[in-house]
């Protein structure tokens, strides 16, 4: 009898299944299966891009790096102040250009080699002597942002390097010399990009060999699979097809060892999906909590942490866009027309504040004694009339399909602010654009933009990282030229004495609020959430949460 087709098909599948079964080796470790109370799966919004923080500029890569690596100085836990990391203390010389770091002793890298002054110099020299594609701006973005250029710049547009040399005077003492005094030192050395790697691993895995061609860059093996630092967690595996990255406890850590045995970062790009994954128990925590979810999650008993706000949302005014905007009175009118308190109360998460300066009061140099622009529609109208700009029409750009830590819901914010401006008699031409790349292009280059929303999350706890980034030179975003202001920025940047520098930041904040290049709107505290039984993590304004102290309540 002929077997029927379905039977043949079933038999074929069964044979195929038997044939493949066991045809490959399992490389699973014994006892690795089955989650228990020593593994934390944390939901993140995007995949890390690279494991070597030297080459990273995206937040997800940096988050992973912070668990595996350490820097000479690091932010105090839960704050922004510079505190000891791999260095126990540090002092500048009289000129402020050479900094001496006293290093911790007894620290070992994950590969068992010793951390010492020589290792520090190997790292700084690796960055400083970068060649070829390592000088590409999308490979060493933060080095270039902080230090400018390299020992031998291969591109004429690169500025000279701020870093000069590294000298190991003894195993626990290292001198870092710089070409000039800069406001960025030592705070910028807290950035994960300045993490100290094992010199042996750097060499073994060819860490500086970025290959390919400029339009076809390939990372070296070190950056994709062998990161070796001194941190409380070490790298275990990166499962790209499953969108997860696994770290395990460093049993030889010099400080308090991690309480978790493994830490897994799992990418869930959709905000609602992250929330559902937390509720269903797939993950035990996640970042970038939607403002609307903050209260409900808290009420359900989840461990919701609010980070101190370390960001700014502003309304930028482009003085080259509409010539009327070059008139201070018109800019003042815009500031008076916007009801910032109502915006903060209705559209931002609990704990958000109206901004008085272009940086939050957690940063030294914040100045409460500046010109303030209270909500006053009549005053706005009067100022517009005085400036002969009663029939003003402004092109108002706002981004779509995006959530930024400082701007959870751009469209809602736009509607509120544009209604305020219209109430003052200003006509608004709405220009919604997709955040990346259209919006960012349109608002930071050319002069087709009049007003727009943008903001910033600080990299490290220094005021220059905020106001210097915005206003220390002529930029298409703002379209103004104010040599006196630029000069004062230069002065602040080259002041080594912390107190004198802070005094200059205060002056700058006052000057900026008089000149009013834009309207600072708000500082919003982003939230991060953990499972009901997870404790020990402290929220950090710099998103520098340390998972080594996380543990499950029994």
């Amino acid at each position: 009898m002929r077997a029927s087709r379905p039977k043949v098909a079933i038999a074929a599948v069964a044979v195929a299944a038997l044939a493949v079964a066991g045809c490959a080796e399992s490389n699973r470790e014994e006892g690795s299966s089955g989650s228990s109370k020593d593994t934390l799966v944390f939901g993140v919004a995007g995949d890390a891009k690279v494991l070597d923080p030297t080459m990273a500029s995206d937040g997800e890569s940096l988050r992973v790096a912070r668990q595996m690596f350490e820097t000479l100085v690091r932010p105090e836990e839960g704050g922004t102040k510079v505190s000891p990391g791999l260095a126990e203390s540090w002092t500048p010389d009289a000129a402020g250009t050479t900094w001496t770091f006293k290093l911790r002793s007894g620290v070992k890298f994950h590969d068992g080699t010793d951390f010492n002054a020589d290792a520090v110099c190997v790292n700084f020299n690796r960055w400083f002597n970068a060649k070829g594609l390592m000088q590409s701006p999308d490979v060493t973005a933060y080095w270039q942002d902080i230090m400018g250029g390299f020992a031998a710049n291969e591109d004429d547009t690169l500025p000279p390097s701020l870093f000069k040399s590294c000298t190991a005077t003894d195993p626990t003492t290292v001198d870092l010399a710089f070409t000039r005094v800069s406001s960025k030192i030592p705070a910028a050395l807290m950035l994960p990009s300045f993490s100290i790697h094992s010199p042996k691993a750097l060499q073994d895995y060819d860490a500086s060999n970025v290959s390919g061609s400029a339009d076809d860059i390939k990372y070296p093996a070190y950056a994709t699979g062998h990161p070796t630092g001194t941190g409380p967690f070490k790298f275990k595996s990166w499962d790209v097809p499953n969108k997860t990255l696994t770290l395990e406890r460093n049993e030889d850590y010099w400080g308090d060892k991690a309480k978790l045995k493994s830490l897994i970062f799992k990418t869930i790009s959709d905000e609602n999906a992250r929330k559902q994954a937390l509720r269903s128990g797939d993950i035990q925590g996640y970042d970038l909590v939607g403002p609307a979810d903050v209260e409900p999650l808290k009420n359900e008993g989840f461990n919701l942490l609010t980070r101190p706000a370390f960001n700014i949302l502003y309304l930028a005014i482009n003085q080259k866009g509409n010539p009327k905007l070059a008139d201070l009175k018109v800019r003042q009118a815009l500031a008076h027309a916007i009801n910032r308190q109502a915006l903060v109360d209705s559209k931002l998460p609990p704990g958000a504040q109206v901004a008085v300066n272009f940086f939050p009061d957690t940063v030294e140099g914040w100045n409460g004694d500046v010109t303030k622009y209270d909500y006053d529609v009549e005053k706005a109208k009067a100022l517009l009339a005085e400036a002969g700009a009663s029939d003003l029409t402004l092109r108002f750009h706002y981004p779509t399909e995006v959530t930024r830590p400082y701007m959870p819901n751009p469209k809602d914010l736009f509607e509120l602010v544009s209604a305020d401006l219209q109430a003052a008699g200003i006509k608004i031409e709405a220009i919604p654009l997709k955040w990346s790349p259209d919006y960012l292009n349109a608002t930071t280059s050319g002069n087709k933009h009049d007003i727009h929303f943008l903001g910033w999350t600080g990299d490290y706890g220094d005021g220059y990282n905020f106001i210097g980034t915005f206003f220390d030179r002529q930029k298409d975003e703002w379209g103004f030229n104010n040599p006196a202001l630029f000069e004062k920025f230069k002065q602040a940047d080259s002041t080594a004495d912390q107190a004198a520098k802070v005094a200059l930041y205060k002056e700058l904040n006052a000057d900026i609020m008089n000149f009013l290049p834009g309207v600072p709107i708000s500082h919003a505290p982003p939230a991060i959430v953990f499972g009901k039984d997870v404790t020990g993590v402290k929220a950090s304004p710099l998103t520098d949460e340390r998972f080594s102290s996380a543990e499950f309540k029994s």
Binding site: R28, K49, K266, I268, A277, S280, S436
Partner: protein, 334 residues
């Protein structure tokens, strides 16, 4: 048949060539470029220009296209601008997920769709018919992401029966061989890993199956109704064949041709990635990755993925054409 297959594969060459030109022009006409996506708020005009220069984007489009073609001839699709991994690697890491999801969805859609469509036709005008026709209308109308959220809310959040995200429980530490997780689990005898991967496919599979299921029900029903009225069915019944034989050999088989065509098209469509389902279930496939690549202006990924997807689509349709001859002996491919 061999000549038929060769001819169809040769047709791929001009198709891919034309597609690559269209894609290249389209991508370069999109406003903005990868440099803005890379730099975000932190970009200055100088930095953006430097990155454009490094990526060769400041060269004439023809030069850029020439470089692309030279690479493509060597089967080198370049590296992703954002992840710096080879496009081929990226594809091989993500496509298996899409294939697993597609197979799950199509098994559900076909397994339920054909019997349901057939029964609806046999009981035309009765309750089951109305329910399946109405149900399939809902299946088409309901947005997939909405269905996905509902499924997750019920079966993951409340009942806790299924996982809500990903392809496999990361704490299992499963071995990767082919990146087809179920297959890998079988190959390495990590049975728990295979079962877990299968478990992760159920909810996204159902969500993704909703539209193909509805289409298959409707096409099967219409096709069966048409065949039921054919003379040969009446003849078969008149000559005394049992109802079972008439149904299986004469009605169902003859009504399957249009169904198979639509299954081929639907499968090809699903294999090109399901952006919404993948995003909502954090399922690592090619759909969500391509969507991300568009916003990042990751040109090599977009070019590479779309070209490979085109090849896959052509291959699936080739298989469908070949399968006609199995179902209907009158059809012979030449």
């Amino acid at each position: 048949m061999f000549r038929f297959i060769v001819r169809r594969l040769l047709q791929l060459i001009p198709t891919l060539f034309g597609l690559s030109i269209l894609l290249f022009i389209w991508l370069r006409r999109l406003p903005g470029g990868p440099e803005t996506a890379i730099l975000g708020e932190r970009g200055t005009p100088e930095m953006r220009a430097a990155i454009r220069h490094n990526l060769g984007l400041d060269e004439p489009v023809l030069v850029q296209y020439g470089r692309f073609v030279r690479r493509m001839i060597r089967l080198d699709l370049g590296t992703s601008i954002s992840t710096k991994r080879e496009v081929t690697t990226e594809f091989l890491q993500r496509f298996p997920g899409t294939v697993e999801l597609t197979i799950t969805a199509m098994v559900i859609a076909i397994g339920i769709g054909i019997p349901l469509g057939y029964l609806a036709a046999r009981r035309r005008g009765r309750l089951l018919d109305h329910m399946s026709v109405g149900g399939s209308l809902i299946g088409i109308c309901i947005p997939v992401f909405f269905l996905a959220y509902i499924l997750k809310a019920i079966f993951s959040e409340n009942l806790g029966w299924f996982p809500s995200s990903g392809r496999q429980d990361p704490t299992l530490g499963a071995t990767r061989i082919t990146n087809f997780f179920v297959l890998d689990g079988l190959m390495t005898r990590e049975w728990d890993a295979a079962a877990d991967a299968l478990w992760h496919l159920i909810l996204p599979g159902i969500a993704l199956a909703s539209i193909p299921l509805a289409i298959i029900v409707r096409i099967t029903r219409a096709s069966v109704l048409e065949v039921l009225n054919e003379d040969f069915v009446r003849t078969a019944e008149a000559k005394g064949l049992t109802e079972n034989v008439v149904r299986r050999r004469h009605v169902l088989r003859n009504s399957l041709l249009p169904v198979v065509t639509s299954i081929g098209l639907l499968t090809g469509g699903l294999l090109s990635g399901a952006v919404l389902t993948e995003t909502v279930f954090a399922f690592s496939g090619i759909g969500a990755f391509v969507a991300e690549a568009i916003s990042q202006r990751d040109y090599p990924v977009l070019m590479g993925f779309i070209m490979i997807i085109a090849v896959v689509y052509v291959l699936v349709n080739l298989i469908v054409d070949l399968s006609y001859s199995l179902i209907d002996p009158r059809v012979r491919v030449r």
